[in-house]
Amino acid sequence: MSKNRRRIEIRFRVNRKLRRVCVHPLTRLLDILRLELGLTGTKEGCGEGECGACAVLMDGELVNSCLIPAVQLHGRSIETIEGLSKRGRLHPIQQSFIQRGGTQCGFCTSGMIMASVALLMGKKHPSSAQIGEHLAGNLCRCTGYSPIVDSVRKVGKK
């Protein structure tokens, strides 16, 4: 079929595991994760890079997976929400979101946590203002943001 001829093979890492997919070159990373690899923790909120619900890390950098076409993926390393907990133990940032009301409906949460992880990789103790600025590309309609900012600021604290 002509459709198959337009497919390309992409090899890349997802959550440290080598993956191989055969897709149309313009397939969105979001769809590769959700439909090809069954990693549905990454959500679609708007499909145009505005809401951040689909945020993941690409080579350690925060990206909106709805804006990344397959052609950009070869050889890259992607980290999603599913890769965050190790051996079933939640990452401290995930713990903090539960403990401090950083998640309500949960739909922005995966992207919000990945954005927070990206921030904390570069800065161990960001201020509330820095956190607010960093998370401005991730929309939340439930929490009003301050419980999220609090969750990030107090990671690892009791």
Partner: protein, 742 residues
Amino acid sequence: MRTKHIGERVPRREGGLKVSGRARYVDDWTLTGALYGVTVRSPVARGIIRQIGYPAGTPWEQFTIVTAADIPGSNSVANLEKDQPFLAVDRVQHAEQAILLLAHPNKSLLEKARRAVSLDIEHLPAVLSLESSLAQEQVVWGHNNVFKELKIEKGNVDGVLNNAPVIVEGEYWTGAQEQLYLETNGMIAVANPKEGVTVWGSMQCPYFVHKALMELFSLPMEKVRVVQMETGGAFGGKEDYPSVLAGHAALLAWKSGKPVKMVYDRGEDMAATTKRHPSRTQHRTVVDRNGKLLAMDIDFAIDGGGHMTLSPIVLSRGSIHAAGPYYCPNIRIHGRAVATNTPPHGAFRGFGAPQSLFALERHMDKVARTVGLSPVEFRRRNFIRQGESTATGQRIRESIQMEKLLHRALKETNYEKKVRLFAKQNLKAKVKKGMGVSCFFHGAGFTGSGEKRLASVVAVEATEQGKLRVLASITELGQGAVTIFTQIAADALGISGQDIEVAQADTAFVPDSGPTVASRTCMIVGKILESACIELKQTLIQNGLLKERYTSNAFRAACKKYVKQHGQLKSFAQYQQPSHIQWDDEKHEGDAYGTMAWAIYIAEVSVDLSTYEIRVDDFLALQEIGKVMNPLLAEGQIIGGVVQGIGYTLHENVIWNKGRMVNNRITDYIIPTSMDVPPVRVIFEENPYEFGPSGAKGIGELPLDGVAPAIVNAIESATGAAINRIPVTPEVLLEAMENTNE
């Protein structure tokens, strides 16, 4: 009763699933062999469907096509009135109205086909604004465009107005607001004549959907099953619309014989589903020499869109809240919900109250200025007190203390000092600062006899493992229903929260506990749950399996034993209306609500007069909500509601063109980001409500009610601009400033 869980900062129970991406929303789930479904909608606001064409170039034989002619039962969505078809038959009543449905296994072919369908619709003159509907420029619904008209009357308003030396008048407008839950509407359906219809989806009210599907397919109760999946926010936006979408998905499944998944993209969700009703409120007020309200004459009108849906109930709640937390001997509230040819407007947190309270609390500032009192002093003189009656004649039974709340709010914000300071600084500053106050209440639960009519039921059952399972049709939407129910059940039984399970809202297993709306989950349904738990405990005690005092272990053992002996242990409880509630639906008179939550909100703003940018610098939300069941979740509700209110006031502007929303993208419809919000300071006062579980009142909608007037009052105090409409975009501010300077 010992309260080990109630009152504690218990973390959200499903939190672990949500932070690890394991919570399963409808789009995260696929059935083998499923088709995707899409909707072909009317681009025309009002018209007659001449022809539907399927031009060559698309392999139509591969598609499942459903039109109104394919509907096995009734083509009207179960609601107050049967005026809303699932699919248009020959007429189009609003822009984006669904005309036909398509299904296909391939999403991109499906989208091409959706665009290829040709619609020949003859345009009819449409009504596209509240004013033109009220003026009956065209009659587009019934004989006068009016879905519902109501009158609330107390005392003799005309008598006062006719003899008043001064009447303070004002007119106030609010725009539509999109709920913008992060998860769009979605539904999966399996449907065939043999097994009936099953849908899984994002929703607030499984039994609304259940009823809608029974009528759509003419099926008996047991042949329809509705299951709520994890739901990514709702705020009212998933109250009535999911009935429509579930119907569409099920019709495609029924005809194709395959499972069908329909998930709206953001553009479709914003354009086609419900929003907050736009409104206009007119006030005429008379005050005596001492600054006491003598008469309030209020005309409240809301734009319901193309079909009636829930508009009469939104109108009722908006009207009842229109006179606010004040005592006035003579009140008349005239309410109308009217039709226009936009998509139907629907439920959104606050349900009419944010509209009428915006008007009231802006108007209170205006009246205060007219009579030469400060906004705070004028309000203080008029607060309703215990024993006095509201607009509907509801006598306030509880010892409300609005004066005390106000005193504390002023102190916490350093209000008086800041008002004086800003007045001085503003003379020279380019960035003007101001303070604004709003005072309000929100009634929890259905209005009047509504809860009695619903007669909600909750069940609890013991599991084979000795745990206690809660069975209710209440849905977790992010508000914390599952956690609150766990706390209530655990404390009612004196056991650990770990021993409580809350079942998924699935109509095959849970009784009808009414819809998840109207701030009723904790106060109304939580109380029923408490009763069901106590009954189950009594059964165990009466059977000699449990002593009066027991441990969690003993309770588990007793449950296990009972289930082993009798097969099952299940107890049901039904809503019992407190005897003091008396309501007359016809006259809109009596006890509108079992109780109200009371609040004072204070906003501090900066207005930059070079850019017309408005910033909220500080926000105090002080409220009395009965017993605070879970401070962590309660704070989350308040902060989240206040931030939605900030969006409603300053940013969220639905732009219409010929009945269609044209800025139906997150890029163009702006909601607050983490950079747009002030620190929201939340303070609770507790005045336990006798008929709520552990004294709790409703809380969900309250925080949205009073945000807009507090901010706009602050803008006026900063700039002198008398702004009477929201959202206050920079353009609205500019215009108001120009009018002020003239």
